[in-house]
C-alpha cells in the first residue's frame, strides 16, 4: 500500500485508511458495513448490462466465493443509489458486428469493451470515438475522481481511453508488454538462471538453438513472428522509423519502408534462420493463437518447447492448465519482455490497460450512475468489500487472486485494505518481480495521446500483414527489398485517397510534441537507435515539415 500513497490526494488517503480499519473491524463480526456514506437522492434510472464486467449478483452464492462478496457489495451500492435498476440483457459485447450494430441503433449495453470497436489498435479506437461510438465521459470521470482510483502507472497510459483532453473510457484491467514465458529448468540446462530484460533477438536465436534437443524446440512462435521482430527495428505498420506525418488536408500519414530496408532484410533473415536453418522454432502459418489455450502454450505445457510468447494475464491460467499451483508455476517458469532490437530499441509499451466505454445513448443520469457503479465495483469500495469477504471466509490470498485477474488496474495490486499479506507475493514472487520490472520501464509516447481523434482511420494494416506472413514461411524465392517497396507504394497509394478531419495546426503542434518526447526518451534508453535510426529518419522525413 505504501508504494501508492504518494500518488493520492489527502482525502483519498484518509478514505482508504477508514476503509482499511473498517475492514479490519469487520473481520471478527463478518458484517458488511463499509464507509458510512449517505444514500444519494432517489432517481429513476435503468442500466442494461451484458454481464461484462458488471454481472448480476447471485442471491444465494456460497459464502467465501467471489459471487457472494460481489453480491453484498452490489447491494451496498444499490442502497446508496436508490431508484437505480440494473437489468441483465442477452448480449455479447465481444462480437464486433453485433456491437457495432447495437451502438448504431442505440441498444448497446451501458458499458462495453473499447477495443472491440476499434480493431484493438489505438488509431481504430480513437477513430471509433471520433465517429461517436463511445460517450464522452470527461465530466463524470472527473466528478468521481476516477484518476485517483487507478494505479498511477495505469493512469499515465491514456491512449486507449483518452483522445486529446477528452476521456471516453475507464481502465479496468492491465497487462504487461508482449513477452515470453520460459521454462526455468530448461534454461538452467544451458547454464542460465534468468533471461535479462536487455536480451536481443540475436540472443534469443542463440538461446533457442541451444535449448533445442531432438524432442524439444527452443521457442514456440505465432504466425506473425515478423510483426514482433521487425518492430524492434522501429519498422512496422505504425513503426517509428517506417511511418511519418505530412502536413495538409489530406490523410496525414505516409509510409517509408525503403530507408531502412536493410534492417528488414536482416530481421527476416534472422527469423528464417531460426525457423528453416536452426530448426529451433515450433511454428506454423496458421498458429494465430498465442493465448494460454492455443497450440503454442500446449507445447509449452508438454515441455516440448522452452519459450512461448504471451502476456502477463496468462500466468495463472497457465498454472491451471498444467494442474499446478501458482507457487509451483512460479518455480517452473518465468516471464520476460520481448527482446530488444539490435540497436537497443523496443516498441513494447510497459503497461497497457484494457478500458471500457459507455453507451452514447445514456442520459446524463444514467451515465452518472453507470460510471459510479463501474468504478465502485471494480476500482473502489465495492472491489475492496468483495475481496474482504473472500478473505474473511477463506483466509486465502489465492482465492482472491483466482477471482479476478491479477494485477489490477486499481491501486490494490500489492495489498487490499483489510486483507493481510502481500498479493504480489501470493501471485508468485519471481513472476511479480519480473512483472514489476517491466511495469516500471518508461512509457513510450503514443501518437493518439498527442493529436485529436481522426474520424478516418486511413489505410488498414492489411498490406503489412500480407508481406510479413509471406516472408516468414514461404519456400518460394522472394526479394524483401522489392516487396517492401511495393508495400510502401500500396499503403501510400491508399493513404492518398483519404482526407483528414483534423485541424492542421493542432495536428502539427501535437506531432512536434510527440517527436520531441521520443527524442528525449530515446536519448536516454536507446542511444544507439537514436543516433543511427531515429535522428536520420527524423531529419529526412519529419524535420522538413515539422522541424
Amino acid at each position: 500500500m505504501k508504494a501508492y500513497v504518494h500518488g493520492m490526494n489527502r482525502r483519498q488517503f484518509l478514505q482508504m485508511l477508514a476503509i482499511g480499519s473498517g475492514g479490519l473491524a469487520l473481520f471478527g463480526r463478518g458484517m458488511p458495513a463499509l464507509a458510512q456514506a449517505t444514500p444519494a437522492p432517489p432517481v429513476d434510472v435503468q442500466l442494461n448490462t451484458s454481464g461484462w464486467p458488471i454481472e448480476m449478483p447471485i442471491a444465494d452464492a456460497a459464502p467465501g466465493t467471489f459471487q457472494a462478496g460481489y453480491a453484498r457489495a452490489f447491494q451496498t451500492w444499490l442502497d446508496l443509489n436508490p431508484g437505480v435498476r440494473v437489468q441483465q440483457i442477452e448480449f455479447n459485447p465481444w462480437d464486433a458486428a453485433g456491437l457495432r450494430t447495437a451502438i448504431a441503433g442505440g441498444t448497446a449495453p451501458f458499458t462495453y469493451p473499447i477495443g472491440v470497436m476499434g480493431g484493438w489498435n489505438v488509431a481504430g479506437i480513437q477513430s471509433a470515438f471520433a465517429q461517436g461510438a463511445f460517450a464522452d465521459i470527461t465530466d463524470v470521470f472527473n466528478r468521481y475522481n476516477v484518476l485517483d482510483m487507478l494505479d498511477p502507472r495505469v493512469a499515465a497510459s491514456t491512449s486507449r481511453w483518452m483522445a486529446g483532453d477528452r476521456i471516453f473510457g475507464i481502465p479496468y484491467e492491465v497487462v504487461s508488454s508482449q513477452g515470453y514465458f520460459y521454462n526455468r529448468a530448461h534454461l538452467e540446462s544451458i547454464g542460465m538462471e534468468r533471461i535479462p530484460m536487455s536480451w536481443t533477438w540475436q540472443d534469443m536465436r542463440e538461446m533457442a538453438l541451444q535449448l533445442t534437443t531432438p524432442d524439444r524446440k527452443g521457442l514456440a512462435m505465432a504466425a506473425y513472428a515478423l510483426n514482433w521482430i521487425l518492430p524492434s527495428y522501429g519498422i512496422g505498420f505504425d513503426g517509428l522509423v517506417s511511418r511519418y506525418p505530412i502536413p495538409g488536408r489530406g490523410f496525414n500519414w505516409r509510409w517509408d519502408f525503403t530507408t531502412f530496408v536493410d534492417d528488414m532484410v536482416e530481421g527476416v533473415e534472422l527469423w528464417r534462420g531460426m525457423y528453416f536453418d536452426d530448426q529451433s522454432v515450433f511454428s506454423d502459418p496458421n498458429y494465430w493463437d498465442f493465448s494460454q489455450n492455443g497450440p503454442l502454450a500446449a507445447a509449452f505445457y508438454d515441455q516440448r518447447v522452452s519459450m512461448t510468447p504471451g502476456i502477463s494475464l496468462f500466468f495463472s491460467d497457465m498454472a491451471q492448465r498444467m494442474n499446478i499451483t501458482v507457487a509451483e508455476a512460479d518455480q517452473m517458469m518465468s516471464f520476460v519482455r520481448a527482446p530488444l532490437g539490435p540497436t537497443g530499441f523496443t516498441p513494447e509499451q510497459p503497461i497497457t490497460p484494457s478500458a471500457w466505454a459507455f453507451s452514447p445513448d445514456l442520459s446524463a443520469e444514467q451515465l452518472d450512475k453507470g460510471v459510479s457503479l463501474f468504478t465502485y465495483m471494480l476500482l473502489g469500495e465495492g472491489f475492496i468489500q468483495t475481496m474482504q469477504h473472500i478473505f474473511q471466509e477463506t483466509g486465502d490470498l489465492g482465492a482472491i487472486l483466482r477471482s479476478l485477474r491479477w494485477p489490477y488496474a486499481n491501486r490494490y495490486s500489492e495489498s487490499i485494505p483489510g486483507v493481510e499479506g502481500s498479493l504480489s507475493q501470493a501471485a508468485g514472487s519471481n513472476y511479480s518481480a519480473a512483472l514489476n520490472e517491466i511495469f516500471d520501464q518508461p512509457r513510450l509516447p503514443e501518437v493518439g495521446a498527442y493529436i485529436p481523434a481522426e474520424v478516418n482511420n486511413g489505410p488498414g494494416d492489411t498490406p503489412w500483414y500480407d508481406k510479413i506472413t509471406r516472408w516468414a514461411f514461404t519456400r518460394d524465392p522472394f526479394d524483401v527489398r522489392a516487396e517492401a517497396a511495393e508495400m510502401e507504394s500500396i499503403l501510400n497509394q491508399q493513404a492518398s485517397t483519404f482526407a483528414s478531419t483534423l485541424d492542421e495546426n493542432a495536428f502539427a503542434e501535437g506531432i512536434r510534441r510527440y517527436y520531441a518526447d521520443w527524442d528525449a526518451l530515446l536519448q536516454q534508453t536507446a542511444p544507439l537507435f537514436y543516433e543511427q535510426r531515429f535522428r536520420p529518419f527524423y531529419e529526412l522525413r519529419i524535420a522538413p515539415n515539422f522541424g
Binding site: 464486433a96 461510438a133 518460394d476
Partner: protein, 305 residues
C-alpha cells in the same frame, strides 16, 4: 405489378380465354406471389437499397451522414488490393465449382443404387453433426508444415523436400478448396430429383442396350438438369462470397493470395470504414449479377421455355 399481365395459360386454351377467366388467373397469381413479394421487398431489397445509399455516404457508426457521392467507389478503385481481391475471388469460385460441384451429384446417383436400408445408414453417417471448429482443427493439422500429415506424406513417404501448403502463394487456393469436397449438403437435394425419375425409364434404356454410364448420361443427368441449374447458380453466388473457411485457415495470406472480396470487406469494416465496406459490397453485387447473367445465357435454365 404490370408484369403479371404476361401470365401464360395452358397453351391449348391460350387463344380463346374469356376475360373473366383471365382476371381470375391474375387474382390467383397474386395469391401466389404477393406475400413473397412483400417479405422480399421489405426485408430483402429495402435494406439493400439503404446499403446502396450508405455506400455513397461516410456512414459513421453514429451521427449525421455526410454525402460522399462516388468518393468511396473512387477510393476503392484506387486501392491496389481491391482488384487483387476480385481476381482471387474469381479464381477461387471457378476452381471450387470446377473441383467440387460435380461430386455430390455423382454421390447421390450412386447412393440411389444402394439398398434402402444401407442408404439410410449411409445418410446418417454423412450427416453427423459437425462443428466448423472441429473441421478447422482437423485441416489445420493436416496442413501443419512441421507435424502435419501431408508434410509427413511428402517427406517420409514420397521422399520430397519439405513442402509449403498454406504458405504457398501459388497453391494456397487449391489447398483451401480441397476440404469442401467433403461437404455433402446439396446431395440431399439431388436425391429429391433422382427419386422422381420413374424406374421404367431405366428399364426402357436397358432394353435398348444402354450401359451404366450411358444411363447416367441420358437419363439421370438430363432429368436432374433443372435442379442442377439451380444448385449451380447457388454455387456461383455462394462461392463468390466465400469467407469463413479461408479466414479461419489463412487470414488471407500469404501475401493476400487467399483474400477474397468478402474477407477484404471484413478487414475494412474492422477498420471502422463502414461506408467503404458497403461500397465494396455493392461492387461485389455487380460482379455476381454479371456472373449470373453470363450463366443464364450459357446455361439455359429451363429447356421448356
Amino acid at each position: 405489378m404490370a408484369a403479371q399481365a404476361e401470365v401464360l395459360d395452358a397453351p391449348s386454351a391460350q387463344s380463346s380465354v374469356p376475360s373473366e377467366v383471365k382476371a381470375r388467373r391474375r387474382w390467383q397469381l397474386a395469391l401466389f406471389i404477393v406475400p413473397a413479394f412483400l417479405f422480399q421487398f421489405f426485408w430483402g431489397w429495402y435494406p439493400m437499397l439503404v446499403a446502396l445509399f450508405l455506400s455513397m455516404t461516410d456512414a459513421p457508426i453514429r451521427g449525421a451522414l455526410t454525402w460522399q457521392g462516388l468518393n468511396n467507389y473512387n477510393r476503392l478503385l484506387l486501392d491496389p488490393l481491391v482488384p487483387m481481391a476480385f481476381r482471387i475471388t474469381l479464381i477461387y469460385a471457378g476452381l471450387s465449382i470446377l473441383l467440387t460441384f460435380a461430386i455430390p451429384i455423382f454421390v447421390s446417383i450412386l447412393l440411389m443404387e444402394m439398398p434402402p436400408n444401407v442408404m439410410r445408414v449411409m445418410m446418417i453417417l454423412w450427416f453427423l453433426p459437425l462443428s466448423g471448429i472441429a473441421s478447422t482443427l482437423f485441416w489445420q493439422y493436416l496442413y501443419n508444415e512441421q507435424f502435419g500429415l501431408f508434410q509427413w506424406i511428402a517427406t517420409a513417404v514420397l521422399g520430397l523436400p519439405p513442402q509449403s501448403f498454406l504458405s504457398s502463394q501459388n497453391w494456397v487456393l487449391l489447398w483451401l478448396i480441397l476440404p469442401s469436397i467433403l461437404l455433402y449438403g446439396p446431395g440431399l437435394y439431388y436425391l429429391t430429383g433422382l427419386q422422381s425419375i420413374p424406374r421404367s425409364y431405366y428399364e426402357a434404356a436397358e432394353i435398348e442396350g444402354a450401359g451404366f454410364w450411358r444411363k447416367i448420361w441420358t437419363i439421370s443427368l438430363p432429368r436432374l438438369r433443372p435442379i442442377i441449374a439451380m444448385t449451380l447458380l447457388f454455387a456461383i453466388i455462394g462461392s463468390l462470397q466465400e469467407f469463413t473457411f479461408p479466414d479461419l485457415m489463412t487470414r488471407g495470406g500469404p501475401n493476400g493470395a487467399s483474400r477474397t472480396v468478402v474477407m477484404y470487406i471484413m478487414n475494412i469494416l474492422n477498420n471502422a470504414r463502414y461506408g467503404d465496406a458497403t461500397a465494396l459490397a455493392v461492387m461485389l453485387f455487380a460482379l455476381i449479377m454479371v456472373a449470373t447473367l453470363i450463366y443464364r445465357i450459357v446455361f439455359k435454365a429451363d429447356p421448356d421455355q
